[in-house]
Each structure stands twice: as structure tokens, then as C-alpha cells.
Symmetry: C2
Subunit: 436 residues, 2 copies
């Protein structure tokens, strides 16, 4: 047994030390609780699916990245997102679901791409979607705005902006200026505005055959300014056909209902330059920017789609959804020293019996504290007092509860606040309250 | 797009409808919160690992069940339990961890075995382990007894028994009656007592060469009765060598400390017939039985081991751990109509605007309720009132909040308790309190 295997994980996979894992879990918990607060139920689909099912729609780049293999007679793939499994789930269980079906799923997805900075082969996504049967009211799109806004507030990562647009406005407008046959190209180029800048957008538009006048109109359009109300007014004045008008009306409803639902106007911004994915979204689209950290890109995105599961069913299933790439977000926060702003919800304690004679009394103290619901550890050890306090602070506990002969005689505990260093002898009967 | 792929999942994989998923999540949450209350931190290791690392120790049956495949140049395997990844994690991050290292991990594991009733190819395990560096105090074994007991109480599955034994007692005793060279065989047979019954145990022992006198002594030994104190006394009277005595002393400490930590004596039972795995455990062992559902087998098991990670490191890492197979437990509970006893912690509401004119006021009501922390859905729809109430009850909400013209005028909400059918008009300002 002298030959040892070097313990290591795969490149592109991430695992955290306990302190960081705690923060990661806290972020995940906050997202989950906000999704639940909005009435989303959870589902949990298998990580492995039949390739025939999972890849019914995939192709090109996505397919190349799949972890796919044969197991006996089965051609299997690991899921690469949570949307395809949702489509499969809704098509499969259609008869047993209540529509609109509001579900969240938080889980790992897998992409076997070449590892590079900020890209993960195993990553958490936190998705929330509402799926309608045949139709889905536009007000659900407004709820998603509030949901994003609420999540961002709970995560406490500073000021942020939920940017909203509507693909119908884009398609309608570009059609009206004679670029209807190149909408996909134009959207793709506009979508890169944040990344590549104005000049590059101009030259790319020109390459696609837009003339100067068209480029001017495009730039004029995406730079419509003012608050949301002013933007809606400006849009209403443009006469760009029926699709365009429907889009403007939808956008207005989304903004109005989001306000009624309590969203903070200052966090919500109509942004006519965002377009999101190319073929997928058909109406409202969302991106979320952390102010001062625009280089993070969008930290929560999504939008409205016409039909979720056409590869599996004839049923028409329109939906609206959002997604947070938590593994990526966490790694950005860590890189930028922003993990400190994630607030810990509960205090924790560790009991330190000063010698093994105190184990019996110490056990009773621990029992009392745990009963009150407070997380409490105990260090069973005959090491030095110094080593004991070191254990307490290294585990990240808020309080060390020292127990020696005096404390046992007095039926007390000496509570040390590990952040401030303050120390106080507290009666056993009131120690749980004291910690709270 | 008329060719549809049939939406389905792999045999041996499980996915739940929302109502069941809610109960599953509730069970998982309760387990997690209890682990946290005992001071365990969480870790989250990759689902995919290098086969060389993950299978360093495996072999035989286990290895055959692995989902293993090549991805470009990498030989990869999906994890088949959470213990090997723990060993790898502790060996790899040894320098950065605080010992004793108390970690829990709740996650999916994979075994590609032939699907059969009650066996899953993808399943959740909920593990908690304490790992010492070089040594680990026996009192940690006692904490695990309380942890199991607390978890079982929280899960609210009825009366249960945590059965405890110590492998040193077994090895010591069998050595002392001249069966020291067949300990593994004898333990394996005794371990099956619950499954195969007394007569079969006798005949199998005899097949392994135990004579009548030895069999008699074995049966006498495993039938030592009385409460825990009486059993310890009886064991102390046996003179079966040093290893045996150490085992008895450990068992006594475990029972005493568990009592001091507040464990209920009636839930904890010394059971000299349990042995658990064969090569792995070296001291304390645990099994947990649901009274009246002994056929479930053990629903939470574990024990003490001498060295966690010898395949990865020269460091000696003794540990003690427990595991709950949640996917299996859930499926047993469902099969036996026991999901009803899992208590829902929080009430949920759904707002039903009676017509689209009420959407604005309804949005304000929703916002108010969500702000108070209560989960609140809203049904944006112009369907009939009946369809609206049907939606509310089918989603499993506790309260439907109907909003018509009257309510908007009066600044109220009509709250219907969907369990009792009671209905009451409540002022908007007090509706959140009313729901609580």
C-alpha cells in the first residue's frame, strides 16, 4: 500500500474549501428561497439521459461538448443545460402538471469543452421558468423582472440593473427599415454592442449590407434614452408596423406590472440594444448587470419563448424563464474580492471543554444550545486551551463557549465572541438566548 | 417537425412530480439542517472524476457498476458513493482543513447496475462524517448516535431505534472462542440474522466449521438482553481479552455521552448482532430501524473506520460517519403511504384576480405578501372563477386570495382556506399577519 494515487480533480471542474462552500451554499439558498417565494415549485431531473432524447434538438457546437458514452446498449449523455430536461419533463408529464407550470431547478450541468478561464465543465445553473399551455399571459414576463430584482437584492452584490427588451420590437423595427431579411445578423451584431463597442458594430452592420442610412436609423433606435416612461413614449411615436406595436405594448405592460408588483424603478431599465440568443427568444428578453462590474457580463438572463418542447410534443407550450450561472458568478465574485458582502444568516457556536472531566457537563450545554435551533459544535479533545480556541476560530464559529471547573460548579458557560474578543460568563439557562 | 422524439427517462432513474418533489425536498432540507445544527460544514465534490483516482480502491462488483467512459484522452467515472470523493478531498486539501473535519455532503451517486425494484442507478445519499488527524476521540461516535436520533425525530416517520454495536467486541469475542480465523465469515453470517432468521444462521455457521458449542456461545452472546445498562454489565462480566474490553469501554462511553447529549434512551439500543460492512468498519457501528417497518432494513447506517484515505496519503485519518440513502427511503415511504407524515413547514398562498381589471390591485397584494416572506403565487388569467380556484387547489396552495371589484374598492382580500373551505374578507394591511 505504499504506491499512492495522487488525489486530484479534473481540469475545468471546481470544488471549494469549506469557507467558500459556505458562501456558495448561502448564495444558492437565497436564490432558491426567492424562487419559492414567487410560487415556483422544484423539480429534479436525472443528470444522465438517453442521447436520443437529450440531443433531439441539439446540434453543432453544443453536441460536440456533450459528455456522451455507451453503457451496455444505451447511448447516454450528461445534461448540458436545464432547459432541454424541462422541455422533456413537461412533454412527458403534461397530463399530471398544473398550467401555468412554474418550476425552478437548481443543479449541475456538464459541457466537455476545452477548459479556459471562467469556463467550467461542471457548473450550477439556477433556472426558473413559467410554462403555459397554449397561451401564457404577458404579466408572467413582468413577474420575472421582479423575481430577478428580488434575487439580486437578496444576494446583496451592490447596485444592479435588470435590462429589458422585446424581440418583437427589434424584429418589427428592422423589418420596417428594410432589413427584415437580415434580422438575425443585425440582432447578432447589436447583441455584441457591450463587448465590441460602437465602431465595430457599425462596420459589422455595413459588412452585412446595411447602408449608412439604415445604420444611422439602427443606432438612433438603440440609443433612445430617458427613463422607462420616456422610452415607451418615444417607441410609441415610431410607426414601424404591427409586430413592432405589439412588442411595445408588451414592454409597457411588463414595466407597469413590474412596478405594481413592487419592483424598484431604479433597478429596471428598458434597453433596446439587448437581443439575447438568436432563434430561441420571441418576446421579452432580460439581462442583468452589476453596476461597476459591467465586465462580468449578464449575471441573470432569460426571456420569453413561443414553444418549449416542439421536439417532443405537438402541444404548444409557450414560456418565460431566467437563469443564473452560479458557478461562474461565484468565481467572478471570488476573483473580485466580493464574497465578503454575502451575509451569513445564522450565528454558530462551538463548545470547548477545558479538560475531559468536563465532557459530561459540556455535552449537556451542547444539547441545550442545539435544542434552541442554534448550530453548535463541540471539540472533544485533550489538547491545550490555545489549540481549542484556534479550532473554534478556524472553523469560522461566531462564539466559543469555554467550560472549565468553575463554569461547571457555577452552572455557567464563558462565552467568547470570536469577532470582538469580548468574553462573558453566562448562566446555562440563558446561554441560548444570549447567543441569539 | 412532425417526427417527435418520445420523451422518457432511463430505466433505474427516478424523477418526481412536483407534489412528491416537494416532500422529497422537505426531507432533504430537514436532514441538511440537522447536520448543520451539529456543526457539520458542507462540501460539494465533482460528479465526474478521473477513473484512476476514483477507482484507486475499488474492485470487483463495484467496479463493474461504474459509469465509466473515455472523453478525449481522459478516462472518467461518475462517482458511485460520497465516501471515496471524501477520502480524495481530505487527502488533497489536507493542509487547508481544520481537524477534526466535520463535513456533510448531500448529492447524487451513480451505479449502472441492472435496474430492479428498490434499486436505483441514480440516487441521493446524505452523508455526515467526522475525520480526525491521527486520532479521533470516541465521543464523536456518541455524537453520531444523537445526530441519527435527531434526524429521525425531525423526519417524523414514527418510532425508531438506533442500534449500536462495536466491531472490537465482535472480533474480540469470536477470537476468544476459537473462531478468530473465521471472524469475517462469522460476522457476515450474523449480519444476516434479520434477513435470514435464526435457523439459517445456525446452519451457515455450522457450514463454516463452527461446532455446536461455539454456535451456542455465539447465539448466547448476540442475545444478551435488557436495557443498555444491563447489556454493558453483562458484557463486562465476559472475559474475552483486551480487544473485547476496549470495545466494551468504547460502547459504554458512546451510550453515556449520547445520554448526556440529550439522546432519548428509548431510541438507542445496543444490538450485538449487527456488524455492518466487512473490511471497512473497525469500531462503533450503527443501524437504524423504523419500528413497524423492519422490512425497510436500516434507513441510516454507518460507523467508525481506522483510516479513510490510505490509497491517497500516508496521513492516518480515522473517522466516523453515517449515511442516509434518501432516494431509496423516499421510495419506501411512498410505497407504504407514509409521505403524509412529512410535515410542511410553511403556508403558501395564491392570489386570484377575478378579472383582468384587477391585475393592478392584485399585483400590489402579491407584493405585500411576498415582502412578509410568505410564498405567494398569482394566477394571471381571464379564465372562469371556477378554473381559478381549481388552479389554486391543484398547485397545493393553503390559501386562495380572491380579488374582485368589491375587494379592490374596500382595500381588502377574500381569503379562502383551501383545506377547510372557510372564507373571510381581510383588510389588505393585515392579510400577511392573517396568513401567518
Amino acid at each position: 500500500m505504499s504506491e499512492k494515487t495522487t488525489p486530484r480533480i479534473l481540469q475545468g471542474f471546481s470544488e471549494l474549501l469549506p469557507q467558500d462552500q459556505f458562501i456558495f451554499d448561502t448564495l444558492m439558498e437565497k436564490i432558491k428561497n426567492t424562487y419559492k417565494k414567487y410560487g415556483f415549485c422544484s423539480i429534479d431531473t436525472p443528470t444522465l439521459e438517453l442521447s436520443e432524447v437529450l440531443l433531439a434538438k441539439a446540434g453543432g457546437e453544443t453536441e460536440k461538448q456533450i459528455y456522451r458514452f455507451m453503457h451496455y446498449d444505451n447511448d447516454l449523455s450528461m445534461r448540458f443545460d436545464l432547459t432541454v430536461p424541462l422541455a422533456r419533463y413537461v412533454a412527458q408529464h403534461n397530463q399530471d402538471l398544473v398550467f401555468p407550470f412554474k418550476r425552478y431547478q437548481i443543479g449541475k450541468s456538464y459541457r466537455g469543452e476545452r477548459p479556459q478561464k471562467g469556463r467550467f465543465r461542471e457548473f450550477y445553473q439556477c433556472d426558473a421558468d413559467v410554462i403555459g399551455s397554449e397561451t401564457l399571459d404577458i404579466n408572467y414576463d413582468a413577474e420575472m423582472v421582479c423575481l430577478i430584482s428580488d434575487v439580486m437584492k437578496t444576494l446583496n452584490l451592490g447596485d444592479f440593473r435588470v435590462r429589458i427588451n422585446n424581440r418583437k420590437i427589434l424584429s418589427g423595427f428592422f423589418g420596417s427599415i428594410g432589413l427584415g431579411d437580415r434580422i438575425t445578423d443585425v440582432l447578432r451584431i447589436i447583441d455584441k454592442l457591450d463587448k465590441i463597442g460602437l465602431d465595430k458594430v457599425k462596420s459589422e452592420l455595413s459588412e452585412k449590407g446595411a447602408d449608412e442610412k439604415q445604420i444611422e436609423k439602427i443606432l438612433e433606435f438603440i440609443s433612445i434614452s430617458g427613463d422607462n416612461k420616456a422610452k415607451i413614449s418615444a417607441l410609441k411615436k415610431l410607426n414601424a408596423g404591427e409586430l413592432f406595436s405589439v412588442g411595445v405594448e408588451e414592454l409597457e405592460t411588463v414595466v407597469t406590472t413590474a412596478n405594481n408588483l413592487g419592483a424598484d424603478e431604479s433597478n429596471i431599465s428598458i434597453d433596446l440594444s439587448i437581443a439575447r440568443g438568436l432563434d430561441y427568444y420571441t418576446g421579452t428578453v432580460y439581462e442583468t448587470t452589476l453596476i461597476g462590474h459591467e465586465n462580468f457580463g449578464s449575471v441573470c438572463s432569460g426571456g420569453r419563448y413561443d414553444n418549449l418542447a416542439s421536439y417532443y410534443t405537438d402541444k404548444v407550450l409557450p414560456g418565460v424563464g431566467i437563469s443564473i450561472g452560479l458557478t461562474r458568478l461565484f468565481s467572478l465574485l471570488k476573483e473580485n474580492d466580493m464574497l465578503g458582502s454575502v451575509t451569513k444568516e445564522e450565528k454558530t457556536a462551538v463548545v470547548l471543554p477545558m479538560d475531559s472531566e468536563r465532557f459530561g457537563y459540556a455535552a449537556k450545554v451542547v444539547s441545550r444550545i442545539r435544542e434552541s435551533g442554534i448550530s453548535c459544535d463541540i471539540f472533544w479533545s485533550d489538547k491545550s486551551g490555545k489549540a481549542k480556541f484556534k479550532y473554534a476560530s478556524r472553523t469560522g464559529a461566531d462564539f466559543a463557549l469555554a467550560i472549565g471547573e468553575t463554569e461547571e460548579t457555577n452552572n455557567t458557560v464563558t462565552v467568547k465572541n470570536l469577532a470582538t474578543g469580548e468574553q462573558q460568563e453566562v448562566a446555562l439557562d440563558s446561554v441560548a438566548d444570549y447567543l441569539k
